[in-house]
Symmetry: C2
Subunit: 325 residues, 2 copies
C-alpha cells in the first residue's frame, strides 16, 4: 500500500514526504537515505563552501543512491552575495531534476532551471508569496507555517489556517511544511488541502542525520514549548531551540530592539561552530521546530518514512472511515 | 450519513461540533439554532448580569429548542469576583446537562457539577493543563490553540502540534479548538487525534449570531492576517480583530510594557459598548480568530453545520480514501 497524491504522481516519488533544504544538515548522508526510502530529499547548496564543492556533493550523493533527489537554493539579500549563478550551474550540470528555491526574488533562477527541464518547488511562508511564485512559473509550492524551525516569516499563521487558505487559491501541487513529524500530521495536511508534507526537525532526529547525537537526544527530550523566536526585532524571525543562548537573545531584544551587532557574537562564529562539533545543545543557536514535542525516538530514515505511511493508511482506513456512518 | 466519534457517542449529539462559550455572543439566539442543528452550543454564564438573568436565559433558550445545550462558566481571578456559586446554582437548577468550564482552578465547580450528574468539558490551552483537568475529574477537554480568538495562553502552540501532543497523553474525549471553520479543519482535527471541533469566530459569522451585521461583514472581508495579539506584556494575551484600536494597544505595549491602566480606556467602557451597538468594527476591541481567513459567507447555523458534515464525509470518503492505493 502507499499514499498517492498529485505530488507523488507529478514528481515521481513513492511517498508524499519531502526533506527540504536544511543548512548544515542537507548533506549526502541525509539526502541519500531519504531518496532510497522513496521520498524526496534536498541537498542544501549553500552548505557547500563553493559551487565546486556542491558539484562534488551531488556526485557523492549519486554514489549513495540510484533514486532521484533535489538541491535547495536559498536566495538571501546580501551585500556580498554568494555566487548564485555558479551554484545554479553546478545544479544544472549535476543532472538534478528538482530544485527547491527559497528566499528573495528567485525569478532568474526559476527561469533558468525550467529552461533546463528542472522542476522547481518554491518554499514560502504566506499565501500572497505562494501566489506570486505560482505566477513566476514554479511547479509546486512548499508552504511553511508558524510552527516551523528556522524562518516562519513575520505573519505568524500556523498550518491549520495557512494550508487551507493557500489551498483555496493555489492551483499547482502544494507541500505543507512546519510542524510535521508523524502520520497524524500527514493525514491532517492532506485533509487541509496539501499534496504532501515537508519535515525538517523530524529528519534531524534520525540515525542518519549528520548532526551530533547530543542534539538528537535533546530534541527527543524537549517538549513542544522548548523553542524560542529570535530576531523578531530585526524582522527576520527564526524559531530555534530554547536554551541559554537563545533565551539571552530574546532578553536582549525585549530590552528595546536589538541591533544585529549586539547579538551577533551570540549566534555565529567560532563559538557556535565549536559547540556544534562538540555536540553542546547549550553552546549556540540551533534551529528546531515545535514538532520536537511529538518526537520520541531516533529511528532510521526508512523506519520513519515507512511508519508514517503505514500509520497514515491506518488513520484513513480505520479511524476516519469508521467515523463516517 | 453522519460523523460519529467518542464525543458524539458519550455526549449524545448528532455532530462532533461545539459552539463554546463566547462573551457577549453566547445568548439564546446563538445557542438554540446550534442545538436545533444537532450540535452542542453553550450559553455564556457571565454574559448575563446576574445569576437570575442566567436562569431566565436558560428558560428562554428552552423555549427555542427541545434539544440539549450547555452553559459556559469561566472562572477568572478577580479582586471582586462575580457570585460564581450562585451562577453555578442557576445552571444546576436550570436542568443543564453539560457545562464548559474555563479559567482558574475550577475544582470546586467541577465537583459540584459532577455531583449533580452534569458532564464537564474543561477548556484549556496547554497539555499540562489538560492533564491537570483530567485528574480533576472532568469528562472531556476542549484544547485551544494559538490560532484562536480570545485567550490563547502564553505558550503559542498551534493546533497542528497541540492537538496530537495532547491526544498522546489525554485519555478522555478531546475537542479541538482554535482555527476551525470548515470541513477541512474538522477532518484534520480528527486525524490529529481529536474527537470533534469547537468553533467560535465561524459561529459569529452566521445569520443568527447576535452581533451587528457590520462585524460579520468585516470578518468575511478580513484575511488570516487581520488579527492582533494584545496584552502580551500583561501575560494575559488576547487575539482580537486588527483595527485602529488594537493596533494602538500593540504599539503602546511595544513601547516598553504597558500597565493595564494605560490601555484600559481603549478596550472597555462606554466607547466599546457604543461601538458594539452601532456596529463599528474600528470602534473598540473585538475578539476574532485567524480563521477569519477561511470565512467567505454568512450562512445560517444549520447550513454551516450541515455543510461541514457533508464536506467532511467527502474529504474522508473521496479525497483521502482515494489516496490510499
Amino acid at each position: 500500500m502507499a499514499i498517492k497524491t498529485r505530488f507523488t504522481e507529478e514528481f515521481g516519488f513513492d511517498h508524499p514526504i519531502v526533506q527540504g533544504g536544511m543548512q548544515w544538515v542537507g548533506y549526502a548522508e541525509m539526502v541519500a537515505p531519504v531518496a532510497n526510502a522513496g521520498a524526496l530529499g534536498f541537498l542544501t547548496a549553500l552548505t557547500q563552501p563553493t559551487p565546486e564543492d556542491l558539484a562534488r556533493e551531488i556526485a557523492r550523493t549519486k554514489e549513495m543512491t540510484d533514486k532521484p533527489f533535489g538541491v535547495n537554493l536559498t536566495i538571501l539579500p546580501a551585500i556580498k552575495p554568494p555566487p548564485y549563478a555558479e551554484y545554479r550551474q553546478a545544479i544544472i550540470e549535476g543532472g538534478i531534476g528538482i530544485v527547491e528555491t527559497a528566499g528573495y526574488k528567485p525569478q532568474e533562477h526559476v527561469d533558468d532551471f525550467r529552461k533546463h527541464g528542472i522542476k522547481v518547488i518554491h518554499k514560502c511562508t504566506a499565501v500572497r508569496h505562494a501566489l506570486s511564485a505560482e505566477r513566476m512559473g514554479v511547479d509546486a509550492i512548499s508552504i511553511d507555517g508558524f510552527e516551523c524551525a528556522g524562518h516562519p516569516g513575520e505573519d505568524d499563521i500556523p498550518g491549520l489556517i495557512l494550508i487551507p487558505a493557500a489551498a483555496s487559491k493555489v492551483k499547482i501541487p502544494m507541500i505543507a511544511s512546519g510542524g510535521f513529524g508523524d502520520a497524524r500530521g500527514l493525514v491532517a495536511a492532506l485533509a487541509l488541502g496539501a499534496d504532501g508534507i515537508n519535515m525538517g526537525t523530524r529528519f534531524c532526529v534520525t540515525q542518519e542525520a549528520p548532526i551530533h547525537e547530543n542534539f538528537k537526544r535533546q530534541m527527543v527530550e524537549n517538549d513542544e514549548r522548548a523553542t524560542k523566536l529570535i530576531f523578531r526585532t530585526l524582522h527576520n524571525t527564526a524559531r530555534v531551540m530554547k536554551n541559554e543562548v537563545s533565551s539571552e537573545v530574546v532578553e536582549i531584544e525585549a530590552q528595546g530592539g536589538a541591533k544585529f551587532e549586539d547579538i551577533q557574537h551570540l549566534v555565529a562564529g567560532v563559538r557556535g561552530r565549536k559547540a556544534m562539533e562538540e555536540g553542546d545543545p547549550d553552546g549556540g543557536i540551533w534551529s528546531a521546530g515545535q514538532v520536537q514535542g511529538l518526537i520520541d525516538d531516533i529511528p532510521t530514515v526508512k523506519e520513519l518514512i515507512d511508519r508514517i505511511v503505514v500509520e497514515a493508511e491506518e488513520i484513513i482506513g480505520a479511524r476516519l472511515d469508521r467515523m463516517v456512518v
